[in-house]
Amino acid sequence: MNFKNITIGLAAVALSVIGCTISERGSSASADDNVYANFPVTLKGYTGSKTTSESYTGQMARQVLHDTLKKLAGKGNGKPSSTLKAKLNSYFFGKAKGRPIIAPKSNGKFVIKQTKVEQISKKKNLSGKTYKGTISGMPNNMSGPALIKFWIDRASSAKKGVDLNNGYNYPQLISKFLMGAVFYNQAVDNYLDEKLSAKKKPNNKPYKKGAHYTGKEHSWDEAFGYFGMPAHGMTLTSKQLYAIAKRKPEALAYADHNGDGKVDLYKEMVFAPAYYAASFDKKGKTTYAKTITQAFLDGRRVITSAKGAKLTDTQRASLRKYAAIIEKNWEQTLAEAVFKYAGSCFKDLKELKKDQSAKSLAKYVKHWGELKGFSLSLQTGRKNLGETATRLNRLIGFGPVLMNSSQVVDINSKGQYVKDQSSGLDNYMVHMLKVQKLMVDKFGVKALDNDALSGLGSMIKKLGKGAAAEND
């Protein structure tokens, strides 16, 4: 290569670098562009008074139903309570008016605007949107709603929703499972999958008769709602998102985007799926919450840019690309949670071998509930996880291995748990490690909270790299 060629080459590289910088600056978004709001009405022929088209109230109402159900599931006094059961069912199956919001509630300066579910959206329940497939990670081929119904029944007679004899923490099981069976499943297997096809919910027609938004606009918005991110989520750090979800009084300042002094559960609150994504991002190793939210914003802009016309194949391909980003990152957050809680259970078991107090046992049972719930959630996505799901379910089992080495292996026709001798605590601890490895191998998790194998990594690092061609 002569000098002339090298010069031309270097100049080309320099120009391309400058070009990239300029184009990035050109596409950098202003603050408002980072908010999932103020998308214009594009529906052709719309004559109503609405000026913005985004709408996902039903989804945010379901986020509230989920939070409330979780809270209520921990209210049992240890004796069967038909009142509590009816209450729980009213939030899962019911659609009645007047249901108060039990959670999230105001916390000091962190004032929440709504106090009743219908103030967000009317006639909403969770059961209608719960994954209807078979839950192979629990006995008896129950469907999603049947499993929640079973757990609600158990929770209503368990003290604070916890059954230490069998190892179940129902509020955790219900909550973590619903995060997949409703929110993740509805988003990735319905709105971001079937409803992105050319025939379903086209963009040149209203979503339903009388609506001011198009089919594709609303499909996309509904998926966004299920993620549980505030409209201005992109403008917040993961720590701020975390603080909002925890309702910390100081969080009002950045949660209250419209400055009315209250947190609007429809647009300003952080709910479970977004909260978990942000909580993993806090370490700085991942950007799940931002990546998902950015993909939602980018996808919505593609739809808006069609100006009420039917989406072209290119536009739909572009949407599919954003949907794939959302799906992959969402799946990874669930896998991260499985990884995290498998690590927690491992630690708890280590502790329990030294101290078998009820407090330590309750902690283990709580973490196991989270592990089981998230592991079942992971299996409610668009894809059938096949062998990975089978392995995950076998490793975790139908119940945790308890101190007397017993483990629930079945549920009989009377709804009673059937136990058997497990392979033991030590072996179950190995299972927890294997669950963590499975999450790394199959989902490429990176945040790695509670990594029980971190010791191996540090030892490997210490011995240095071996990639040199050396000889003796």
Partner: protein, 682 residues
């Protein structure tokens, strides 16, 4: 993806520089400087003339441009620069150390059955000491072994020859290596380090600190610090003969590089020479010897050309392979051979395979003379029965074995299930199939005649096939047989700290407790269970065999086990297990009241069986004379058919009265029994 220029700046150059800075690398500047000092002082020390002339001689041997700028050394440098890039790019094909370590870690903890570390109770200082030492030894041995193979096998020697073609030696000759050999050595490092880390973390139950100096294994540091670089130099440092039997001296490695045929295949070791001693390849140094480095004259044709260094080994491998005719097409002159080759033609193969599949498929799906058994019982236990059944009836039996999960599997399969018969142990497990409506109601007078009514389902869905008594094992000499007459006696405080048991949740113990509930009621049964738990010598653990072993080891004097374990241990092929059985004696309990509790193995016909007739035939066969005798012979169980005489071994334990409780009751009481077990922490 990185552009070439970025790659050079960001990856290549820093890694190259690291070789001379990182103390983990042999050519680190610190080691080089120290080696230089050692070389100079050694030359002065061994000089037969003055110290100064010794220094001068040493200086010449260390820094002579004739050595550093020889054709051989220049090709070393070229290889070093190019290999670094090749190795960087080939990193993805080298197995990941993390992956291998994790894989081996799980392999070890599966083997040990715990991640807690069986040696975790050892004093804290032992683990780092052992780890550091073990890592060094295994690393050194693996270097020897790989090096030995590189010389031993012609195909590997073709590559290793690149290193031996050096005619002048400098510390950088360590990098005169063919990349294929580089990859082999990198893999070696991965396996050694992964195996050591995995083994130690699994044994000690956590991360272990390496004893190190400047971040390097202390033993490796000593090796490098004491002039390891002089192995590839012209300074001939010899150790006393005794030391050279233990450690490889620079002079010994120089012998390894000698072009003299007498020195070929000697001194493969890196730091230790013990491996060479064992392999009889050790050669100690002699003060008078003069060594010429390089290959033998017939092998060193243009050996410093870069093209030859990189590509000639491949050509040699190809030549070697062609000698074995592996790369030549098949040829045959015989007519039979030609026919065979015709059949090996791809078209024929596809045709034959397709026909075979087409023929096999319908045969498999419609063959009614075949049944499928879902078995919780281990294949070696039931195979003799099934083979005997096949022989007698001509009905083929396929077995799906799984110790867990068959109920859920059958449930999930629903009407599509291929299962015809389910075989399992324990009434509780049989009852699970009835509870989920997975068994067919069958009508067979043979079954009703062969099985006592209290050992089968009143609804004719499951049937007991053999019996096992839950007996008390006592330590010979430490407990008198008459001291325990009833199972209830085990709750007496006098046995405090003397009883062993597997966990209460196991179906065998739970069924025993259910029989106590049936006899005395829930309250009394709970008091018994509480008393038993208070008398335990250790946390409930292991299986029934483990309890007998505990008696043998003196951990406890009394255990609750299933009767057939006694027979199995007594006749075990393992002498130690026979010893355990010798240490115990069996006691049948409750002989003066309700009798000893018995449980069953049993089976039923799957609800959606497509071959119910054959399935019933199998169950019937299992309750008849031939099979019933086998239960005693193979597994030391008691026959369920009253007409069958127990096997001689089982008979030798003596006859006993059994609890004739309707075994269905046990299943009904199981949930209550489990709640008691949870409450008392058994």
């Amino acid at each position: 993806m990185l552009q070439p220029f970025d790659w050079i700046i960001q990856d290549y150059l820093p890694q190259l520089a690291e070789s001379f800075i990182n103390p983990q690398k042999r050519v680190s500047i610190f080691y080089l400087l120290f080696a230089m000092l050692i070389g100079l002082f050694w030359s002065a020390w061994v000089s037969k003339e003055t110290w100064t002339s010794g220094f001068k001689r040493g200086f010449y041997l260390l820094f002579s441009p004739k050595i550093w700028w020889s054709r051989s050394s220049i090709s070393d440098y070229k290889l070093m620069f190019l290999n670094r890039a090749i190795m960087l790019l080939s990193a993805p094909i080298i197995l990941s150390k993390v992956a291998v370590t994790t894989f081996l870690y799980f392999f070890f903890i599966d083997l040990l059955g715990t991640s807690e570390g069986t040696l975790s109770s050892w004093p804290a200082w032992i683990a780092p000491f052992l780890y550091t030492f073990f890592l060094f030894i295994l690393d050194d041995f693996s270097r020897f072994l790989v090096h030995f193979c590189l010389h031993r096998f012609p195909m590997l020697w073709a590559f290793h020859k690149v290193h031996h073609s050096a005619e002048t030696l400098t510390p950088l000759t360590v990098y005169r290596t063919h990349p294929v050999e580089g990859i082999i050595f990198a893999m070696r490092a991965v396996f050694v380090q992964a195996a050591t880390i995995a083994l130690f973390v699994s044994l000690f139950g956590g991360a272990i600190e390496l004893i190190e100096v400047f971040g390097v294994n202390i033993l490796l540091f000593i090796f490098n610090f004491t002039g390891a670089n002089l192995r590839h130099s012209h300074i001939r440092i010899a150790y006393p003969r005794v030391i050279e039997q233990l450690l490889i001296s620079p002079a010994q490695h120089q012998i390894h590089h000698s072009s003299d045929v007498r020195h070929f295949n000697r001194n493969f070791g890196a730091a230790l020479s013990i491996w060479d001693r064992i392999a009889k390849t050790l050669c100690t140094s002699k003060s008078s010897q003069e060594i010429t480095f390089g290959l033998s004259s017939q092998q060193k044709d243009n050996c410093h050309s870069l093209v030859n260094l990189y590509f000639k080994p491949f050509k040699e491998v190809r030549d070697l392979l062609s000698k074995f005719r592996l790369l030549r097409p098949f040829k045959t002159k015989t007519s039979m051979g030609k026919i065979l080759l015709n059949y090996l033609n791809l078209r024929y193969l596809i045709l034959i395979t397709t026909l075979a599949i087409l023929m096999a498929l319908p045969w498999r799906s419609v063959n009614a003379n075949e049944i499928n058994v879902y078995s919780h019982r281990q294949p070696f236990l039931i195979s003799p029965f099934l083979r005997a059944f096949e022989k007698k009836t001509g009905i083929k039996v396929n077995v799906v074995f799984s110790s867990k999960g068959l109920v859920q599997r059958l449930l999930a399969e629903g009407p599509r299930s291929p299962a015809d018969v389910v075989l399992t142990v324990d009434i509780g497990r049989l009852y699970a199939y009835v509870d989920k409506n997975l068994f067919a109601v069958i009508s067979s007078t043979k079954l009703l005649r062969n099985i006592p009514s209290h050992l089968r389902d009143s609804g004719n869905r499951w049937f007991g096939l053999s019996k096992r008594a839950r007996i008390v094992a006592i330590a010979k000499g430490r407990v008198k047989p008459w001291e325990i007459k009833r199972i209830e006696d085990l709750a007496h405080p006098k046995w405090k700290g003397r009883i062993c048991s597997r966990p209460g949740s196991h179906v065998y113990n739970r069924a025993l407790l259910a029989s106590l509930i049936a006899a005395h009621g829930e309250k009394a049964a709970e008091a018994w269970a509480r008393g038993l738990v208070a008398n335990l010598a250790r946390r409930p653990q292991g299986n029934d065999r483990a309890q007998v072993k505990a008696i043998y080891e003196g951990v406890c004097d009394i255990a609750i086990i299933n009767s057939y374990y006694y027979g199995k241990l007594k006749t075990s092929k393992i002498a130690a297990q026979r010893g355990w059985a010798d240490a115990m004696q069996i006691v049948f309990t409750n002989q003066s009241d309700r009798g000893n509790h018995v449980n069953i193995s049993g089976g039923g016909v799957a609800k959606y069986s497509k071959n119910k007739g054959s399935a019933v035939k199998l169950l019937e066969f299992l309750t008849e004379q031939t099979a019933q005798s086998l239960y005693g012979k193979i597994n030391y169980e008691f026959p369920i058919n009253p007409k069958t005489v127990p096997s001689p071994e089982v008979k030798s334990w003596g006859s006993f009265m059994e609890d004739n409780l309707q075994i269905e009751k046990i299943a009904a009481l199981t949930p209550i029994a489990q709640r008691i077990i949870d409450r008392v922490g058994w």
